[in-house]
């Protein structure tokens, strides 16, 4: 992980390896202290970033090559913005059709498909763009 950190922003570049999840936890621990985030907010952001990044690692790269994923956290005062950029195959987050039936009974409840639902439920806004062959996901959470 490469980190470029200033007062209100933190840019991290991670490899497409699940072991980087541990480094994201550490970064958010540091940001929570610096930006005065509650434990609840920190865990919510951690959950969202884990879901986004693990989806990219599992589904975005059909090849076996190394890829880099960029994460940018920005403290805008009344909200936190998280921008995630990857060079994987196109995945328009806004068109993802993985809404689970959260009212289904145990027998009917499908296993999986919860990650995107959690992201949409926790964050206040989710925006997606495809720029220069890259997926750019911008998430915000009001504070």
């Amino acid at each position: 992980m490469i980190v470029n950190h200033s007062t209100d922003t933190c840019k991290c570049i991670i490899a497409n390896q699940l072991s980087e999840i541990r480094n994201i936890v550490n970064i958010l621990d540091d940001l929570a202290i610096e930006w005065g985030m509650s434990k609840k907010l920190k865990n919510q952001l951690n959950l969202v970033v884990e879901e986004v990044v693990s989806n990219i690692m599992k589904y975005a790269y059909p090849d076996e090559n190394n890829h880099l994923i960029t994460l940018e956290f920005c403290n805008e005062g009344n909200y936190i913005e998280i921008k995630v950029v990857d060079d994987g195959k196109t995945f328009n987050f806004l068109e993802a059709k993985t809404q689970p039936d959260i009212e289904a009974s145990v027998d009917d409840r499908k296993v999986g498909g919860l990650g995107i639902h959690l992201i949409n439920s926790i964050m206040d806004s989710v925006d997606y763009k495809r720029i220069d062959n890259k997926n750019v996901l911008i998430l915000t959470k009001n504070i």
């Binding site: 699940l18 072991s19 999840i21 541990r22 936890v25 434990k39 609840k40 865990n43 919510q44 951690n46 959950l47 884990e50 879901e51 693990s54 689970p100 039936d101 959260i102 009212e103 289904a104 009974s105 145990v106 027998d107 409840r109 296993v111 999986g112 919860l114 990650g115 639902h117 959690l118 439920s121 926790i122």
Partner: protein
């Protein structure tokens, strides 16, 4: 994450400590499978020391619940921290799982 399994007179108690996420969910999945394969049909998961769960962990809970339901068993959770409870509510898990505030209450259902 640490998983501790304890025998109780009416069920098996599984204590999970730390963070359950996409890097370690398979450890818990294998523990549940091992217990079910060994004939255990009453599992109580004590989440008092579980600090964090992501969708990979939720999936493991759901798979275990489905498996035990088919076998007429019981899969019960207790002591969920506020953040975990929120994830259970958002995902609708709160309505399909038996969740108790205290371990004593949960032990009462076996």
């Amino acid at each position: 994450m640490e998983i501790t399994t304890k025998k109780h007179e009416s069920c098996t108690i599984i204590e999970i400590k730390g963070r359950l996420n996409t890097t370690n969910f398979a450890e818990l999945e294998s523990e549940f499978n091992k217990l079910i394969d060994a004939g255990k049909r009453s599992l109580l998961v004590d989440c008092s020391a579980l600090d964090y769960v992501s969708s990979s962990g939720l999936r493991v809970f759901l798979v275990a619940l489905k498996a035990l339901k088919k076998l007429n068993g019981k899969f019960v959770l207790c002591n969920l921290q506020e953040g975990i409870l929120e994830v259970f509510e958002v995902s609708g898990f709160i309505t399909i799982f038996e969740v108790y505030v205290t371990k004593e209450e949960a032990l009462g259902v076996f």
